[in-house]
């Protein structure tokens, strides 16, 4: 099968346009029903989305639903995730789609689905709705992984339905959407039983699934709906609505695309230079006073940044380096940050979202350089972008007007996947340094930034332009694979967490396997799935 050169992916959608999910909100309980249209794949005619299997298009809708539940339906305290077909909950990622996908697309697909699932967990953990998986039929592979990102899992006991992770025995790859990690770290399944489970293609039916904690409970078919309803009521009842929550409708972003290479949003602009393999992303400071709807800068601009990052990942594979600037009045940024502090539930929800966008930035498999120049708005929440960058260049201008401001938001509002703040992560050998930086409480010029070790380099006006040009050109010339590996290792210093392991250990192994002939060679397991012949393995192991 030839790999597909796919059309650009759009990450914006709306429940009115969902093809594969139904979002039904009844008071404090929402039901998200997955009913994937077989012929509704992203690449028409290339594969059929059988048995509630999903592709990126299906997951884009899920991500949209999760996001809208947070902002538009804060009264929802329990989200029941279930399947819309008889006997099947979800069969996971569509294998024929994966088999026809380029390596890059597979990686992007897995990353996005991982981010959506970590986002579901974060929604629950941060005081939002509690997600409950209602497995009305068999949940296999990514289907069970989706269930595992929910706080509770219930499986129908009809003598037939099972949970399973058949990737290893059937496909020669890993349950890479958090599957292996959540089995041990979240579900606390014994590792030898996890081993048995992950090599038994058909998985475990209700009895064993409950016994070994793969699910929380099972209900007989005749008691299924009533038991679930009761559970959802109990979950919602024990999870009071945050004070002062109200519905914030997310307005469309609808960027204009110029010549396919320039993206223009209200606050974010992306200029793509394919030849140089560089994208220039600029985020502007607020131009209006903060308010409490989705047009407010703190939400709008960050949603734009989020959307731009996704498009850069998936639609601009040639780009290896992302050069980020922030422009405008730093005071407006700080004012927007401060407004969130006073906006109760809404402010908190926006901050949590900003934190997710920053983690999306951390997960970029592209180099990130931040350029801090006069007129920059890298202060407060936007300074986190400088901290997230692999390198930052701050012009040491003669006039001393080039400044940044590190605010208290860098002290804990935006945890990385490791659980550390970016300041903590930046100073592994100096645990006192973050507090010192946070205590400054004033603008910091290039000299001060150099002293506080907040930026990589501070060239003066004579050197700056050349220094930056050379750094960009040099970066763009290095092996993209080695750079991705290097950056991902250096960015994620510090302790391991479940999220960290998913994006690091699990993903790295999966991506290795995705490149190996045993998976994707002419007779590899992934290529041979569904084909009339069986895979042929190279059995050598080190």
């Amino acid at each position: 099968m030839a790999e597909i050169a796919y059309p650009a992916v759009n990450f914006e959608t709306h429940p009115d346009r969902y093809r594969h999910w139904k979002l039904d909100v009844q008071g404090a309980i929402a039901t998200l029903t997955m009913r994937v249209q077989e012929d509704g794949g992203m690449w028409p005619g290339k594969y059929e989305l059988k048995l509630n299997s999903y592709d990126l298009g299906v997951d884009v809708e899920l991500a949209d639903a999760v996001q809208r539940l947070r902002f538009e339906h804060p009264q929802v305290r329990c989200v029941v995730v279930t399947g819309g077909y008889d006997k099947v909950f979800c069969a996971g990622a569509n294998i024929r789609m994966l088999a026809q996908s380029s390596h890059a697309f597979k990686v992007n697909f897995c990353k996005f689905t991982n981010e959506t699932r970590c986002g579901i967990e974060e929604a629950t953990d941060s005081g939002g709705a509690v997600y409950v998986a209602a497995l009305n039929g068999t949940a296999s592979g990514g289907g069970y992984e989706l269930a595992m990102c929910c706080k509770e899992i219930y499986l129908i006991d009809d003598g037939n339905s099972a949970v399973s992770l058949p990737e290893v025995p059937l496909l020669g790859v890993l349950p890479g959407t958090g599957g292996l990690t959540r089995l041990t770290d979240k579900r606390k399944v014994r590792r030898d039983m996890a081993d048995v489970f992950c090599t038994k293609a058909e998985g475990f039916k209700a009895r064993d699934a409950v016994k070994y904690r793969f699910v929380d409970a099972s209900f007989a078919r005749s008691k299924w709906q009533a038991s679930l309803d009761a559970r959802a009521q109990a979950v919602a009842g024990a999870n009071p609505m945050p004070e002062g929550a109200f519905s914030v409708v997310l307005e469309p972003l609808a960027p204009s695309e110029v010549a396919g290479n320039h993206l223009e949003y209200r606050y974010v602009t992306v200029k793509v230079d394919n030849e140089a393999r560089v994208a220039h992303l600029t985020i502007k400071a607020p131009d209006t006073a903060p308010c409490a709807d989705s047009s407010t800068w703190a939400l709008r601009a960050w949603r734009e940044l989020d959307d731009a990052l996704l498009r850069l990942r998936v639609n601009h594979l040639d780009i290896g380096l992302l050069v980020v600037k922030a422009e405008g009045d730093r005071h407006k940024v700080l004012e927007a940050d401060a407004a969130l502090e006073t906006q109760g539930w809404f402010g908190r929800e926006v901050q949590l979202f900003q934190a997710r966008v920053l983690r999306r930035l951390d997960n970029m498999a592209k180099t990130i350089f931040a350029l801090v120049e006069p007129g920059n708005a890298f202060s407060g929440s936007l300074f986190e972008i400088v901290l997230a960058a692999d390198r930052s260049y701050m012009l040491a201008d003669d006039d001393g007007i080039n400044k940044v401001f590190v605010s208290k938001v860098s002290g804990g509002l935006f945890p990385m996947h490791s659980g550390l703040t970016r300041l903590q992560s930046r100073f592994p050998g100096a645990p006192g340094q973050p507090a010192k930086v946070l205590a400054v409480g004033a603008t910091i010029d290039a000299e001060g930034a150099e002293e506080l070790e907040l930026v990589t380099m501070t060239p003066d006006e004579i050197d700056y332009e050349d220094e930056v040009r050379i750094a960009i050109e040099e970066r763009a010339s290095l092996s993209p694979d080695a750079l991705t590996g290097m950056e991902q290792n250096l960015r994620f210093g510090g302790p391991e967490t479940m999220d960290n392991k998913i994006y690091g250990r699990l993903t790295a192994w999966q991506n290795w396997i995705f490149q190996r002939p045993n998976a994707v060679g002419e007779r590899g397991a992934l290529k041979m799935f569904g084909a009339p012949e069986r895979p042929v393995f190279d059995y050598k192991r080190t």
Partner: protein, 474 residues
């Protein structure tokens, strides 16, 4: 344990007397099986003496010993067909290699799945048919029903033997689950849809045994071509018993057709129904329904599983070893009618992926021969009516034609046209109520219900007056 004479309790040719593993497994399972039989076997007839055949060995004559038996005392045995010397794997990537006597680890899970799915149908049909004894149209038919029932029970034993003997603890658990599921149960349904449908009347029973048991015949035939020799030998022996079930079904439908034609002739307006019979056109609807439900059981027309099973040598085509010269099925294609953008078209699929369809086509040819014999019977009765088999795309709920508005002639219709006509093609609630109204037990030896013709001859050389089922002695 040593005191138990396994051979007389459980007739077998698998050395049960010396097989500790099997003894341990059956020690627990056998009482559970009897509990199940007493709960779910034929209602109200467990104490009757039924003239049944019992298999006591695989020798000629040994597999069919006739005599009166109370069903719960039936000796359910375990038999494999005799070993074929130097048998080779008939198909797939291992074609030509010696067959496996033990389960290859690589295929353990899928083999178990195949066996469990087949096994699940056996007790299911007993459950579906458990009320039918109360409305049997004759003692002859009642006896045939019970014969089918006990042999479905034996087929369960045959499959459970494989699970116990070759699949360790997982196999024992699956064997237990086979007794826990129930046909049509809301909580623990049987695995396949056709085996959760009710069987409320004898026309349904005969159609079921003719068409659904015929699926069993073809599945067993495909598994008889398995590279896992114990499965192949088990299935070969089961096939000898299955023939009787198909006979019961085919001749049952034929007798209803004959009687329908006879009663139509007797009636002034040619209306069999006015004479208390089943009109031929009504029987056609039952045939449509059960034929379609049965061909669903073969699985999707384009199937990864089917390709894998064939490639692994676990399941072959019908008469794979005998009828085919080429056994890899590689680089060969099968052309299939498909639906794209609402239009019927066709495409080629790799032959291995079309193995379900290959088996279904063998089945359909067989079913066509049956229909031909029914039409001969109608001709003999002087009727001008004829039975036809619907197209294999009609009324499907599985596979690539599922839930699409195909007519019985295989043409794709507009949905509203389909909806308007479906009542003419499948039994309506009113049809079902009518057929149900005919169901009354006839228990005098030699007598037949009015709606069914007498068979040509009795069982095992006995006359039609023979008392095939005797009530318990007071």
């Amino acid at each position: 344990m040593a005191d138990i004479d396994y051979q007389s309790l459980i007739p077998n040719n698998v050395n049960l007397d010396s097989d500790k593993r099997l003894q341990r497994a059956l020690e627990k399972w056998q009482p559970a099986y009897l509990d199940w039989w007493n709960q779910m076997g034929p209602e109200s007839f467990q104490l009757h003496d039924v003239y049944l055949r019992t298999a006591v060995s695989t020798e000629p004559g040994g597999w069919a010993q006739f005599g009166y038996v109370k069903m719960p005392e039936y000796r359910w045995g375990i038999f494999l067909d005799d070993k074929v010397a130097d048998r080779r794997i008939p198909c797939g990537d291992h074609a030509g290699e010696p067959v496996w006597q033990e389960v290859p680890g690589e295929y353990r899970n899928v083999l178990r799945r195949i066996i469990v799915t087949q096994a699940d149908t056996e007790p299911a049909s007993v459950e579906q048919q458990r009320w039918l004894g109360m409305t049997a149209p004759s003692l002859y038919d009642m006896r045939n029903l019970f014969q089918v029932n006990v042999e479905e029970g034996r087929h369960l034993w045959a499959m459970v033997y494989l699970l116990h003997a070759y699949f360790g603890k997982d196999g024992r658990d699956e064997a237990d689950d086979l007794l826990a599921r129930r046909a049509g149960d809301a909580d623990k349904p049987r695995i396949l849809d056709a085996f959760n449908q009710p069987c409320p009347d004898w026309l349904t029973f005969f159609c079921f045994t003719c068409f659904t048991d015929r699926d069993g015949k073809y599945q067993l035939g495909a598994l008889a071509e398995s590279g896992f020799d114990p499965l192949s030998r088990t299935c070969r022996f089961m096939l000898t018993e299955e023939a009787h079930h198909l006979f019961v079904g085919e001749t049952g439908v034929e007798r209803i057709l004959r009687r329908g034609a006879q009663l139509a002739k007797l009636d002034r307006n040619g209306d069999a129904r006015a004479q208390g019979g089943v009109p031929v056109a009504m029987t056609q609807k039952w045939i449509n329904y059960w034929f379609c439900y049965s061909i669903d059981l073969f699985g999707s027309e384009i199937s990864t599983n089917a390709a894998d099973f064939f490639a692994a040598g676990l399941k072959g085509r019908w008469a794979e070893a005998k009828d085919y010269d080429e056994h890899t099925a590689l680089n060969q294609w099968h052309r299939l009618a498909t639906v794209e953008n609402g239009k019927l078209t066709s495409k080629e699929v790799p032959l291995r992926n079309a193995m379900n369809e290959m088996l279904r086509q063998s089945y359909i040819k067989d079913a066509e021969r049956v229909v031909k014999r029914w039409n001969q019977a109608l001709e003999e009765e002087g009727s001008s009516e004829r039975i036809t088999l619907p197209d294999s795309r009609f009324f499907r709920r599985q596979g690539i034609y599922a839930n699409l508005p195909f007519g019985p002639d295989g043409q794709l219709l507009a949905q509203d046209e389909y909806d308007r006509n479906i009542g003419n093609w499948l039994p309506s609630a009113e049809d079902r109520a009518y057929v149900t109204s005919l169901m009354h037990r006839v228990q005098e030896p030699g007598k037949m219900a009015n709606w069914i013709a007498a068979p040509k001859k009795g069982i095992h050389g006995n006359s039609m007056d023979f008392e095939y089922v005797k009530p318990p002695q007071a």
